[in-house]
């Protein structure tokens, strides 16, 4: 039995695999189904409005894919949305600026933005310097992007991806030049800052729903429906957990236990202990024992395979 399956660890794995199955099932289902309904997302409807305004003002549209380093799924999602924004900008011959915090993000952004211009047959409009590396230090990046917003007087800013303390610096700077702002953060701690400072905010998983909403690709729409199934499953688990825990915790401080779950089995206690939330069946299922006290007897490696301190090695 492996570490991750020890005690009730397998339950978490089964739940995750079930969610993966739901997403994949719906992706395949969506290929055979017609147009599926996705509710309106105000932040995404405003993209055309923001680009239109920038075109009227003759000022650039700025896009910043967060400060993830190196490139990850969150950055890829931000870049997917920026590909759509760039397409709209390209059609209106509107200048764009993409500011990157990391060289890997820069490379992916350059590829995607160039692809979009090529697909639109507007290669001549593509400016290589429109996708820029600013700095990989958080506040040097914030200072650099804020300076660009002020100097270029961006008409619209799209701040999407993984954000931390620099989020408000950028959002407030863009607000000070009157830019229309669409933002989204995968960090819940930064979402309130964006809500306070920006015109439109994609909250939580709306960020991941964006590419499905914008492109209506069956794969993305199916994946979105799969995500909704997963959320329903989680809501179900939460409801069952609330009911189950409430029933088991009835009786308050008078309810005691004489044995407690440890290392995958019940062990007797020296004296009765109050029954707490950690003793409920649901808690036990979802909080497997970390196997700290489990001892496994294994053969030992031959000495020549261990680092030799005399050769300058060893831990």
């Amino acid at each position: 039995m492996g570490l991750q399956y020890h005690d009730n660890g397998w339950i978490g794995i089964v739940i995750t695999l079930a969610m993966v199955a739901m997403i994949l099932l719906n992706i395949f289902r969506a290929h055979g189904t017609g147009d599926l309904y996705i509710r309106r997302i105000a932040g995404l409807n405003s993209i055309d409005e923001a680009v239109g305004r920038a075109t009227e003002m003759g000022r650039p549209v700025m896009m910043v894919p967060g400060i993830s380093a190196p490139v990850n799924a969150k950055t890829m999602q931000a870049i997917n949305i920026f590909a759509y924004v760039t397409r709209v900008c390209a059609r209106f011959a509107n200048p764009i600026l993409v500011c990157c915090n990391d060289a890997t993000v820069l490379t992916v952004c350059q590829e995607v933005i160039r692809d979009v211009y090529q697909q639109e047959g507007l290669q001549d409009l593509y400016d290589v310097d429109s996708v820029r590396f600013i700095s990989d230090r958080q506040f040097a990046f914030a200072g650099g992007v804020a300076g660009l917003i002020l100097r270029e007087k961006a008409a619209a800013t799209f701040l999407m991806g993984e954000w931390y303390a620099e989020s408000l610096i950028l959002a407030e700077t863009a607000n000070s030049v009157g830019a229309i702002q669409v933002a989204s953060s995968t960090e819940v701690t930064q979402t309130p800052f964006f809500i306070a400072a920006c015109d439109y905010v994609l909250i939580g998983d709306e960020f991941y729903a964006a590419s499905a909403f914008l492109t209506r690709q069956p794969v993305l729409v199916g994946s979105l429906i799969g995500q909704d199934w997963c959320k329903l499953a989680i809501i179900g688990i939460v409801i069952v957990g609330v009911i189950s825990n409430s029933i088991q915790l009835m009786g308050g401080s008078h309810h005691t236990v004489t044995q407690r779950w440890n290392e995958g089995k019940f062990e007797g206690l020296p004296k009765p202990s109050p029954f707490n939330a950690g003793d409920t069946t649901f808690s036990r299922w979802l909080n497997p024992d970390p196997a700290k006290d489990t001892k496994i007897e294994r053969p030992k490696l031959p000495p020549d395979e261990m680092p030799q301190k005399s050769a300058g090695g060893g831990q």
């Binding site: 991750q4 506040f139 799969g226 989680i234 090695g313």
Partner: protein
Amino acid sequence: MELFAQVAPKTFWNAPNSSTELLVKIFIGLAIGVALFFGLMAAPTQVRKPVLFTTTFVSGLFYVVFWLFPQPINRQPDDAPRNAMEGFSFWISDSQAVIADVTNIVAAFLIGLGIYSLLKVHAGRLVKQQKDWGFSAVLLVSMLAMVIFGYGDFIMRLDPANSKMAGSGYVGWTFWQFGKDLLFNGLLQNMDAAMFSIVAFYILSAAYRAFRARSIEATILLVTALIVMLSLMGLIEFYWGSSVDGLHLSNNFKLTNIAAWLGKNIQTPALRGIDFGVGIGLMAMGLRIWLSLEKTGGTS
């Protein structure tokens, strides 16, 4: 030849110090890297795509197997596997750090691209004396100075004779150490801190706009924020708390208790809900990238 000190037990991915096996493994790694690099550069697009899909799938598959295959429980550094299953489990565990290092190495190579992008934009602006060229000059001079002093300091510290430099009190420091210290700790760190401190003022201006009671939602936000802020003000909390102190029921109306209730029963569940959505979205996105179902930027 003493190339490296062996710091960990021998695994598939390393070899004892100075052994032929170590040299062969370094050579194989370099050969695969160079072949992949030039092979991909030379390959036509229709060949490149399947290669990229396969690489993405295999890379992702490693982490799937790493997560699903039973991991060893309480493995000690000198433990040998008991059977073939455990041998594979050990191999996967040992490989994880190496695979993560590959990502770091690729990212390190790309830093050169970032520097090229900066130089291209700013050197061009400086040469053509375009608008705001002064800022570009400052950036290029700063970058050059940091590279020169950083490298000079790094090289000197490599010499074991200069080990006392690592201690406190500027012992053994030379022009290079003082120069690097001035640039990094004296300027860059302070400028970072200055940028961070600006956030406090931005919070104030953003909060002013957000808390104006223009709608029911904004009014709820205003009242809630007011309660939380007042609960953190010692003097107000003391007098408010004293005035409602006494009855068991009225204790619930102490500002700290109301703020704690709001945090525990309103804020935390809302954040958990958002977290679930973000987590599932991230999983779906990762799945689409791993299986190459996502067409990044390629669809109109």
